[in-house]
Structures are given as C-alpha cells and as structure tokens.
Subunit: 884 residues, 2 copies
C-alpha cells in the first residue's frame, strides 16, 4: 500500500526536513522539530503526491487515503489525550497548505476545525471559558464558510457589525457569550440561505477542508504566482492537519514569540516576549503590551512587567533548552512560536529569524567565531538591504538632546522628521519635499505607503514583533515602538509624553537602536565601517569575482566612492560639469553658434574648467581606472527655458532673443530619448568631443607628471554602428597625439563604448573589434528594449506589478529574460572577437542585488553603482558567488 500520510508528534515523526518535495516546507519542518524531541502538537501531513493524484484523477483521492487519514487522527488523539468530535474534551485541528516553496498568502487555511453545536460545549467545559469556546466556534463558522464553502466573509461581518452597533460595542472582544450565541445563530442562517451550511459532522468538516486546500492550488492567483515564479504546477501542495493548542486557556497558559538572539542588535541573549492567557495573533496585533522573556531582556528594554523567567521558571528553562537545540541544529538564529496550555509548553513553529542589518552582521561574525558557520555561509547571512541599514547615520553622541520618551528599539538607525499622524499625510508631506516622522498609536497594513516614505516610525503600542516593528525592520526604516506613557490625539494632531505635548509639523528625532525619543532635530553622524563590518567586508571581498566600481561625476563623489571601496569609476558623466554658472553661458553660446569656428571658440573657454575637474578626479582615483563618458544628453537640455533666462543669455552672448527662441524651437524633439544625443552629437559636432578628449588627456598628462597614476578610459555613448565608434575613436586618438606632442609625454588610455541600444548589443562582435571596453548602460537599454520611457512608465508600472505582468519594476531590477538576454549575448559575442575585453554595467541595476547576481552569472567584469551602494554591491557580488 502506498504511503500518502506522514504523522508527527510525541518526539518522533515519519518525515524529516529533507523531505520537502513530498511533505512541503511546513510539513517537513514540523517533522524535523518532532524528531529533535521537541513537543509539537501532533498531527499528520497528506503528501504532495495526493495533490497530483487529485488533479490527474478528476478531483478524487487514492483509495487508501481515507484509512491513512483516520489512522493519523487516531495517533494524534492518542498523543494529546483528546478526541476529534468528542463532546467532553474535543480535539480541534488546524488544516493548512504547505508547498515545497513558500507561496505566501496564496492558499487557504482553516483553524479550530472540529467544532460543532455539541463539541463547542465540551470545549467550554474543558477550557473553563464559554466565551472562548463560542468565540472560537463563531470564527470557525466564518472561516470555514469562506474558505471551504465559498460564502464571502462580508455576509458574516455584516452580522457582527449590526450586533456591535446595536449594543454600542467598539471591539469584537466586548461581545458577551449571549451575543456570541446570537451571532452563531445568524451565521447558521446565512449557511441555510446559501443552501450550504457548515457540516456538523467533524469528519465531513475535515474532508471539506482538505479538498479546499488542494483546490486552492489551482485558483487563479496561485496559478499566476507559480507561472511568474516558474514553479511547476505538478509539484502540488501538501496538507498539514495539526492539533490545536490554546494559550488562552487561563492564567497558566500563554503564547509567545522568541528569538535565539536579539534580532535588533544581534547580541547573543535569548530574546522574546509573551502574553499570558492569549492567542498568537494577540501578540502580533500589538493591542496588549507583551511581557519580556527574561531578566536580561527586561533590563535592556527597561520594562517593568514581570518576565517568563520569573513567572514560569520551569517552562522557561525548557524553552531555553529547545532554543539552544534549534539554533545549533539549524546553525542560524531562530524565530520560534510557542504556546503554553495549562502549564504545558508546545513548540508551534521555528524558522530562520528576521533581523536588522546590525544584528545580521553581528550574528554572522559571532557564529563564525563560535565555529557554527563558515565565512562563506556568513556572507549569505547579511542581506544587502540589511547592510544598507548599517550605512545609515546614527545620532552624534556629543550632540545636545532633549529626551522626551522611551520605547522599544524596534528598528535600528536614527531618524528625524516633522511629526505627522497619518500615512496619508506622510505621503503628501513627502511629496512636497518635507521629511516626516510617522507617529501612530499602532500601525496596520494600510499604513504601508506612509511608512515607506517616512524617515522614521514611532508607535504608542506594540512590541518588538508588532506590525510597525516588523515592517520597519524590513524596510530598513528606524522605528521606536510601544513608547511608554505616550498618548496620541489624532483629531487635534498632537501627541504627549509625560506632559510634553508635540504638534504636527514639529521636529522629533528617534533612535531606533536604543528606543529613545528626542524633541527637535538632533545632529547625526556617519556610520562606522570598522570592527565587525571591516572583518565581514574582508570575507566579502575575498569571495566575490565581480569588481565594484562607482558612478561619480565630481571629485567629492569619487572620494566617497573610494572610501566605500569602489575599485574604479565606471561612469563619470561630463554633462553635469557644464551646468556650473561660469560654464553654462559658454555651453549655451556654443549651442547657439551657427558656425563650427564659433562653437570652437566657446568650447575653448569651457576646456580649462573640464580639465581641472578631471585633474581632481584623477588625483582622488590615483591608481584606479576612471571611465569618462563624453557628452550625452540632447543639447536642448542646456538651453534656457524661461523668457527671463533667455533674455539674460541673449544679453550676455549679445545675440537676439529671437535667435535663442528659434534655436530652442529647432532643437525640441518629439522623443528626446531617441533623438540627437550621445555620439550623434559627436558625429554632427566633432569639435565638442575634440574639446572633451583634449581636456581629459591634458588632465591625465598633467597629473601623471605630478606622480599620480592615471588610468583614463574614454567612453563613447549611444553607439549603434561600428562606424560611429570608429569615427569617434579617431577623434580621440588624433587629439591624444596632438596633446602628447605638445606636452612631450604620453599616457595610456582606452577608448570604449556604452552598450545601451539593442542594436549595439546585437552587433557586439563587430563593435568589439573597435572598442577596448563595453559598459552596459542598462537604464537606456531597458528603455529601448522594452519600449518604455522611464519618465512616462510610472502610470502603468504599478498596474503591471499589481497584475503580475512583472514582479519587479524593470528599471529597478534588470529584466533578465529580455534585457538580460541582450547583455549576455553581447558579452559572449564580444569576447569571441576580443578575449580580454573589459565588460561592465553602469546603469542603476549596478547597485541592485538581484541584477548583480545575474551579472555575476554571465561573467561580467564589474558593476558600477552610486557611491553609497558600493558596499551593498560588494556584498551582493560575494553572495552571487556563494549562492551559485
């Protein structure tokens, strides 16, 4: 007989962690915890093969499934000492999906299964709480009707709202037992009306729920999700049927969440919080402030509430034992859920714990020192986003501060902004250029938008695992949660802490690493790159293959980039250099000139400025390559647009206003992105590129004479045709010979090109015969390959994401299938004709970890990103090697 059901419970399981394909991720991990001897509520997993059978055989089950499920129920009953459908002390089940790969929110769950008009009485008796039992029954009816029977929750919510309104209740919790019984009666009437009542037979309930979970594998959203994530639909889902345990069975019960190390700082202390006589969602919801796990946590958070270590010392010790076991077993910081039901500890879940960047770094380095993990593994333990947090500023310790309050250090980093009290306000204020601090009693999912744009978040309620805390950590936004003695008046738009009132629009500063709240703006200082950070980045650098260069247009940018570990400048845009007041006039004069000679005259005046810029950049980048792109943007970008500016220019240049207007009109383009720019300018006005080449090469020779090691790489933008590059290279080479002759010295330099048009990528083998390096300009390559203007696509990109046309904005993360295919093809083709060609990326994707992983895979030489992203790119490049 084939095995369709794998049981777990009482310290052993038929499955194990490595059986994810068969049992799904959740089932395999429950089995693993059992095998480790941890107390897991017993249950069983119906395998993914049943799902495949279900779909291949017209929604039927294998013949032997029924008896195996029944045996699974029996086994659970025996272990837990309750009976499924029992009127006295009924065993309830949760029924959950569980695929090989997590598909969050895609499939259905049913809780409290096994309740009916009789068993609810038994539950009331056994738990000692009628309110608990009837509330559970109400919830079960609603959930089951929605998930299994397809009656929308709205029908049930309406009943609830009506009663609450009649009774004048604000919260569901105010409903009395009699209210709940009335609700249940009306819920059943809904079932009758739809001719689809929840079965009283608990076995029918169970099979209904199993069928619903299998059915949810093929609903639209799941099918789409799999298609996009390339998950084969024949993998199927498993179904986990597990005994329910209740942390809300009285004062000897509790439920909690804990971490094997501090998820905020990484410190190796057992961290966590719990609520007595409560259910799991009460902790997450942040409505009651949870108690600290132990004395150490109490001390660090300054909590005055009693801790588990003191309240239930025996259970606490058991929990510590399991925590140690799990961390050692999984070799990573664990995030665990537990429930204490009448003094008995149950482990409900363990998983890798989310953590702040600082914590990730400390844990990774500590675990290497503890010999738990290798350096290579450590590299994968800090996410690029996490590392980003470490690059955030902290409060200057010497700055004067007025501390007005204290909360939990929910997400690290310091932040300062004008106080606003709603997510909507946050978004509006930021749109008009303000920096805001979002202050809420507690946050909920609809606040995401405002949380995203805020400098920092502060809440009056909620613990370290509250919505605000979890979301803020994920975003890398500083957050202080559960600020003590804080009251918020949304109507008046004020908050007060211990008599200190703060109005909307006033500045407040928070420190998410300590939980402190300060009035006004507090001076911040740059993060330090030493200690653990330095050790970690050494491992990173010795692992990665991709070099990391930076995009930097000024000596100051170059300096920052170099400090952050950039190995060169991959993109130095020269156009920004033309905008300084003393230069823009000559630039405009050049553009407004009719003859080549007049243009040359104006260009000659710009040359000394450009040469000075390049000298300074070469100096900063001593010994490292500096890739300078010749003029790229359309000329009209440089012209004055307002009448007033035009008049000024006319006066300065002694030309008529009409001439300026005419030339502006002439240079206007329908689609400037696809117009007269890049090397097309160099073809039409060779004197521009001549001047730039001269400035670069004179600067290079000058600095070399001063002992600087200069490595100039001159980059021609927007090449389509090999001949364009040949012509532009000839200009550079001729200019170089003139400069070298005049200066009596030579420097080595390279001439290469941006690959930023599909044609250039397709013709890479031809272009590489002339180009000494390629730099993929993936911004423009994305615009042209997808036919999407970055300036205009905003209106549909969000819709496209919402409709799952793409998962990620292709301007943020490279479209590997389309744009990436072009980059890969070009890399292959170019190396075929010039084996040692240097290949880099200078688009914004150069700082995006997923894109970096792709560029590593296809074997490019470097990515170039903004200076502040350099450490993140270094890490991403190393992770790409380790994860290969």
């Amino acid at each position: 007989m084939e095995k369709w059901v794998y049981t777990f419970g009482a310290g052993k399981a038929e499955g194990k962690a490595t059986m994810k394909d068969l049992l799904g991720g959740k089932g395999a991990n429950l089995a693993e915890m059992c095998n480790l001897g941890l107390p897991v509520p017993p249950g069983f997993t119906i395998t993914t093969e049943v799902c495949t059978y279900f779909y291949n055989k017209k929604h039927t089950y294998p013949a032997s499934l029924k008896s195996q499920v029944e045996a699974g129920i029996k086994k659970a009953e025996k272990i837990i000492g309750k009976k499924f459908g029992d009127n006295q002390n009924p065993l309830l089940f949760s029924v959950r999906s569980g695929a090989r790969i997590s598909m969050p929110g895609m499939m259905d769950t049913v809780l409290d299964l096994g309740l009916n008009d009789e068993t609810v009485k038994g539950l009331a008796k056994a738990s000692g709480s009628e309110h608990f039992a009837y509330d559970s029954y109400r919830r079960f009816l609603q959930m089951y009707s929605d998930v299994v029977l397809g009656i929308h929750s709205d029908h049930f919510e309406a009943v609830l709202e009506k009663i609450k309104k009649r009774k004048g209740y604000k919260n569901d919790t105010e409903l009395t037992v009699d209210d709940l019984k009335e609700v249940i009666k009306q819920y059943k009437a809904i079932g009758a009306k739809f001719k689809n009542p929840v079965p009283q037979d608990v076995h029918k309930q169970l099979w209904g729920a199993i069928g619903a979970v299998f059915g949810s594998w093929m609903v639209d959203r799941a099918v789409t999700y799999r298609k996009i994530n390339e998950i084969p639909s024949d993998w199927g889902t498993a179904v986990n049927v597990q005994s329910m345990v209740f942390g809300n069975s009285g004062d000897n019960s509790a439920t909690g969440v804990c971490f094997s190390r501090n998820p905020s700082t990484g410190e190796n202390i057992f961290y966590g919080e719990y609520l007595k006589n409560a259910q799991g969602e009460d902790v997450v919801a942040g409505i009651r402030t949870p108690q600290p796990m132990n004395r150490a946590v109490k001390k660090r958070t300054g909590s005055t509430l009693p801790c588990l270590e003191d309240e239930m010392p025996k259970v606490y010790k058991e929990l510590v034992k399991y925590k140690d076991k799990l961390e050692k077993h999984y070799r990573d910081m664990q995030d665990m859920e537990f429930t204490i039901e009448n003094g008995k500890l149950w482990m409900l879940q363990t998983r890798t714990g989310k953590r702040t960047g600082a914590a990730a770094l400390k844990i990774a380095v500590d675990m290497v020192d503890e010999k738990l993990i290798s350096q290579k593994t450590a590299i994968t333990r800090v996410s690029p986003a996490g590392l980003d947090q470490l690059l955030h500023p902290t409060l200057d310790p010497k700055a004067a501060k007025k501390k007005i309050g204290m909360g939990l250090p929910a997400s690290p980093g310091a932040a300062c902004g004008k106080v606003v009290f709603s997510a909507k306000d946050a978004e509006e204020w930021v749109k008009r250029g303000e920096k805001v601090l979002l202050v809420r009693l507690e946050t909920s999912p609809e606040d995401i938008g405002g949380m995203h744009v805020a400098e920092g978040i502060m809440t009056a309620r909620g613990g370290m695992t509250s919505h605000a805390a979890v979301v803020a950590r994920g975003m890398g936004t500083p957050c202080v949660s559960g600020v003590e003695k804080m009251s918020v008046d949304y109507a008046k738009k004020t908050f007060s802490i211990a008599g200190q009132q703060v109005k909307q629009g006033e500045f407040v500063t928070i420190d998410g690493s300590t939980g402190e709240v300060f009035l006004g703006q507090v001076k911040m200082s740059e993060p330090s790159m030493t200690g653990n950070f330095g050790r970690f980045m050494k491992w990173v650098d010795s692992t990665r293959k991709l070099q990391v260069w930076a995009n930097a247009d000024t000596p100051a940018d170059a300096e920052v980039a170099r400090n952050f570990g950039a190995q060169g400048i991959g993109l130095c845009r020269t156009e920004h250099m033309f905008f300084a007041p003393e230069r823009i006039l000559h630039m405009r004069g050049m553009i407004l000139s009719i003859t080549t000679d007049a243009r040359k005259k104006e260009l000659a005046k710009i040359l000394p400025f450009q040469r000075k810029d390049f000298e300074d950049i070469f100096k900063v980048m001593d010994g490292l390559p500096v890739t300078i792109r010749l003029l790229d943007p359309p000329l009209h970008e440089f012209l004055p647009h307002t009448k007033k500016e035009q008049e000024e220019v006319a006066k300065s240049l002694k030309i008529s206003l009409v001439a300026i207007e005419q030339r502006s009109e002439q240079l206007k383009e329908q689609n400037p992105m696809l117009g007269l720019r890049g090397c097309r300018l160099g073809i039409l006005y060779p004197e521009i590129y001549e001047m730039q080449a001269k400035a670069i090469l004179e600067a290079a020779v000058n600095m070399q004479k001063k002992g600087v090691k200069v490595i100039p790489e001159i980059m021609i933008p927007l090449v389509d045709y090999t001949r364009e590059l040949e012509m532009m290279k000839a200009i550079v080479d001729n200019t170089a010979e003139q400069v070298f002759a005049a200066k009596g010295a030579r420097v080595k330099y390279k001439v290469g090109t941006m690959i930023e048009l599909p044609r250039a990528a397709l013709m890479a083998d031809e272009i590489a015969k002339v180009a000494e390096f390629f730099s993929f300009g993936t911004n423009d390559l994305t615009q042209t390959t997808l036919g999407m203007s970055r300036d205009d696509a905003g209106v549909f990109i969000s819709v496209y994401k919402a409709k799952n046309i793409f998962l990620k904005d292709p301007f943020a993360s490279i479209d590997t299938k389309g744009v990436g295919q072009l980059v890969e093809t070009a890399a292959l083709k170019s190396r075929r004709v010039r084996k040692n060609i240097s290949l880099g990326v200078c688009g914004e994707h150069g700082g995006d970890p997923d894109s970096i992983s792709f560029f590593n895979k296809i074997g490019l030489n470097y990515v170039s990103c903004s200076p502040y992203r350099v450490p993140i790119a270094r890490l991403a490049a190393a992770q790409a090697v380790v994860n290969k």
Copy 2:
C-alpha cells in the same frame, strides 16, 4: 613567366567576359567586345594580381611586369598605327582602374596620357587642330598633377580663371591657342613650385599613372566604400591602358551614345544620338542638342536635324551590325558608346542600358516572345522602381489641354506642379506643402535635391541622355528635356515658349512619355494594369513565395489594395476610425471620463460606427484575411489641443474646461513613443479593447450571415510580456463567446500580436505559445532597436548617409544586421514552438524591395504594404526568389 598583362584589340583579346576576377569588370568587357570582332581601341589590362603583389611587396611590381607592359604598348601601337611618345602622330592612352565590382567614382583615371612639349605638336599636326592639341595637353597636365602628383586642381583652376577674367571670356572654349600655351606655361610653373613637375618622358608618365591607380585602391574613401559594401580589400583593382581615339578630329568624326532599343518606350528600334566633331562629354553635358541616330528616331522625336543613317550611311550600317551582335550576345538591351575618328568607327563601351519602367516591361516581354530570355530572367529585368513608374497616372486623353510646347520624352509619366526655377526653391516650396515642377536651362548634379522632390522636371537644353533625362528616369520622375524654343530668365523667374510667358508659381503640366508641355493643371487618369503588365505580373505571381498583403484602414483603401492584387489586409489601424467628427466627441468623452462605467458609456456610442467600418471592409475582402489592430496610439493624440477646441469639447461634453486642461496635461508624455500606448492601454482600460473586439466580431458574424467569407485576425499591439498578450487574448475570447451566444452563430478568428519591441522579438518563443500570428511592426522595431525616433532623426540621418555610417535610411530599408537579426531570430524561435505560425511584416519596409528580399530570405509568410506598393512588392518578392 607569370602573365600579368592581357592585351586586346584588332578583333581578339587574351581575356574574356568571365575573367572579371582577374581583369576587373571593365577589362573583361573590353576583351569580350574584341573577341566578338568589334573594333575596340587597342590596349591592355594589368591584372588585379599585380595590385595584390603591389600591396604585399611594399609598393613594388613583379619583375616581369615591365617587359609585359612594353609588349602591350608595342601591340597597341602596331594595331592603331601610331607610336607612344611619337613626335609626328603620337599614340595617347587613357589609364583607368577597374575592380571586379564597380566602385563608381572611388578611384582615379588619367586621360590623354602621352602628351609632352613635343608630342603635342605631333598631335596638332595629325589632328589638324592646334587648339585641340593644346587644350588636350592643358587638361592632361591638370589631371595628371591632381591624380598622380597630388597637386590640387584648385591651383590650376585659379590660373584658368585669371586668364579668362583678363580676357573677358565666359567659357573655357573661348581660349585661343595662344591663351592655351600661356596656360600650359603657368601650369608647368606650378609643377616647378611644388617641385613635382609632370614628367616629359611618356613612359614615366605611364608608370606614374599605373602607380596612382593602384594607390587609389587604398585611399580612405575607397577603403570605407569597400568596408560598407563588404568587398574584400585583397580583391585589388586592375589597370586598363587603352588607346585614345578622338571624335573631335573634324567633320568626318563624331561621338555618340546609342541603345539597341528605345530606352523610353522599349520599342524595338535602334535608338540614340550623336554630335559631330565632338568628344563624349559634350553629348552627356547637353550643351549642344545632339542629332538623331536614324530616320525612325527622327520621326518619333520630331527632330529637324540630319541623322547618322543619312549623314554616314556606311558607318551607320556597321554600327547597326554591332548593335545586333551585342544585344544577342548579352541578351539584353545595350547602351553603347562609339566614336568615329576620321570615318573609322570605334566601339568604346557596351553595357546593359538603363530604361524606363515601361521600356523595361516591354523589352522583357518582347524578349521572352523572341525567345531571347526565359520568363524567370524577364522578372529580373523590370526593377521595382521601374514598375512603380507604370503605376503613375497619365494625362486624361479627354481632358481639355492648352499645349504650349514640345520637348524630348525624357522620363515617362505625367506630372503637374507650380513652376520653380531652382532646386533650392523646389525643396523649400515642397517643404511647405506645394507640388512643384522644376524648370531649368539644364540640370547638374547639385540640383539632385530639388529634382528629387519635384513632381516633374523640364529643361530647355539637353537630349535623351542629358543629366536631367538620366537622373529623372532613375528616380521615376517624369521629365521633358530639350524643350524647343524655350527661354528661361532665372532673374525674373519666368520662362517663355513662343511668346507664351509663364511665371514662377503658375501651374504647368508635362507628359514625360510624349514630351508635351501644357499650361495649367491637366486632369490625369489611373494607369492600366492589363496587356503586357498583366502577362508579366502572372509570371511574377507564379514565381514568388512571399504573399503580399496591404495596410488599409478604410473600405476604399481595401478596394484599391485588392485591385492591386493584395492577398489580405495585414494592418487595419482602428485609430483613424475615431477621428470622424461624429466619433471624436465620444472618444474624447471616453478619455476624459474618470470611471470605467462612464468610459463604457462613451465607448458604446462609438461601437456602431466601428462595426459598420469593419462590415464594409470584410465585404470588400470577402475570402481574404483582414488583420485588425486594436487601439495603439497614446490617448493624448485624440484630445483637443487648442483652447478653442477645448472649449467646444467642454461644452459638448458638459465638463469644465479646467478638467480638460488637467487631463491633457496629465496625459502628456516626455517620450510618447515609449509611453502609455498599444496594449498598455488595453491593460489599463480593458473596456476599450472589449468594445473593439465586440465591434469586430459582431461585424464578422453579421457579414457571414450575409454570405461573406470573413477571416478576421485580431492583432494586439506593443506586446512586451507574454502575460500582456494572455490578458488581452482573454478579453477577445470572452467577448467573442458573448457575441456568439447573443448572435447564435460563430466565426473563426485568430488572435496574434505585433512584434515591434526588441523584448518581444527576443521572447518570441514564449509569446508564440499564445499568439496565432506575428506581424513584425518594423517601423517601431527600428525606432526601438536603433534608439532613433523617426520624428527626430531627420536632422542626423542625412549626415549619417553622407558619412557612410549607413548606406540607406534604416526607416526606408530594413537594417538587416540589427533589426533584421531580431526579426530572423524571432521567426526561428516562434516556429520552434508553433510550427505553422503565420509571420508577416506590416511596417513600411513591407513595400521596400531590398527589405522584401531579406524577408523572403528568412522565410516569412507575407509582407503588408501600402495599397499602391502592392504590385512593386509582388515583383520584389518574385525577384528575391529568382536572385536567390
């Protein structure tokens, strides 16, 4: 001893036509004429292998070359009875390059080689004209100095100008013998000044010229030309050294150009013209009006000048014999040059004759009937541009006309336009929307731009082979040349013929097929597609593999397309249908609506109009496929742009002006080409595509019920992602089911997509899983692949052509290497997943012969072009098969 030199002359040659690789095109053809027994001025060809030797061995020659050249000279001397360097009756040579493939204007030529201070006297004596001899010497010194010695012609022209000014001459021809001697003296002084005189030793002259021709193989322009045309540089050029003969040796001498059939009509009569006592360039320059070849030509042109048949009957008979021989030998109409020197006929050249479209068609069909060529060969004998001429309108024979003059029928077709007198005016007037007729005394190469934009060309001077005539025929532009009794006053901008004065801006009509000139606008009629045309197109259609469809948006267009032989509609744009006055208001109302419901309401009002359009198109295209593209352009194109229009719309739609302004502003885009358009509209506003699908399918069912065979193909534009197409296909399929249910009848339909973005081409294998057909939108694919906006690229495309970055405007003829690579890849990939997918092209390249040849090569199913291009596309498709 290796053979480096091949002689020809006196009825035999060492080479032949098939030895082009060794002797170059020119050398091989001279040899062939000799072998046919024709009198060719004797000479010899130095092989291309010498050129290769020259470059491989540091500009030296093979040891035995010298003696072989000397033997060649001896042989020529013997045949012609003159001696090279002789003081009494000197033999002069022309020295010309000649590569395997013609590289027009790329390399150098030296004429009259062999003149020096002594031989010039001999030439004067032998020719009986001192003036001729010294003028030849002057020309030789100038040409040799420029080509061989590198002293720019400007230095010599300055001398000439100075003397002419001093003497008050207008033309070079006014120079007396003494003037010429003075000029020669000063020319020699220039040579002395540059320390680089023309050698007096004629053998030194010859070796200098040979070296110069070989050297010209490697000059920049030649290297670039070869690179672009992919001609290997090791092919080398040959050097042709040929005896000079002189048609200007007196009244018993002449020079002429003739055609074996009438190049204008194709009629099988011997055609041509000549000038007595003249040189070849005098005929081409059109300064003297040439005499007709024979009585038949005289009759047809109405010339009153004596003809060769009457003036030199013996020579004429000989010429007729050669003409017959050459046409039979080459099996094509020949264009021959001849010179009569003192009564002796010399054949200087024969080549395939250029001809009008009408002539090409008649000659091809006649030669098939004469069993000279096969039908397949006939297909290659009519160029697509030639066929285009046949599609031009002709004057309505019944129309009232006021004939004011008569000239030569230089290029067929009727044309009408406002008279202008300079190429510059022509270009300017056309730019502002006028149709012009360019009137000139005679035309020259700098008039090309104006000739190109003019409806027709009329000249006072010049024959059938004048510059104006040749160029106009090449362009397919109607032309009447050599209009009798016509005077032109450029200053006053008028012309008059026999007292009738016409001012700039007045309308004139010409008939290039008859030579007639009419005052005012004459009614024209459509060309006939029967007779020879019908027979020829049958051969074409039975040969080609590509289907030819048409782009047609209206029933009228569809009708024209079908009459021209279109096999389907490949692109029916629906957006034009929205612009009719009764519809645009609803379209604007739809765009200005905020809610989906409001949009649907407006769309419902447009639906009946669209349905009616589709019904009419289906009716016309009964039995043929009709590909309808759903809405493509950005919505802002439909909104009113002027204040006045906006006010009107506000009033009609009862919305505020502000709302219209805001929405217009909102919809504005930086790069509309890359913005919210194509299926992106369908994703954001599915109701638009729903309405269109409904209109198409209702129309299809309605017409099918009336017995029309409907084959609707619904095309989704601008797809990037497979999922976009899936979503849009779902809308069409759902709508179809609703329509079919409501109508109680079904029609077959296809859903496919435009491939017009590089990503779509790259992902063709994925997209083809959903698409039932692909239509390559090569206009947009070119814009995105090249990153060039068609609207903006005008300013640099001409520069790019001039600088040889590309040979052809990539919007006119497909960029096969880049854009074509994408199309080919997509075709391959799509057929891999859907073997029978239908692949077509609906961009403008669908009507371009070179592009059609490419599309045939890569195996597409059809091209779709504008209705008037359909016959041309049919021909190009057949030629692609024959030339494969």
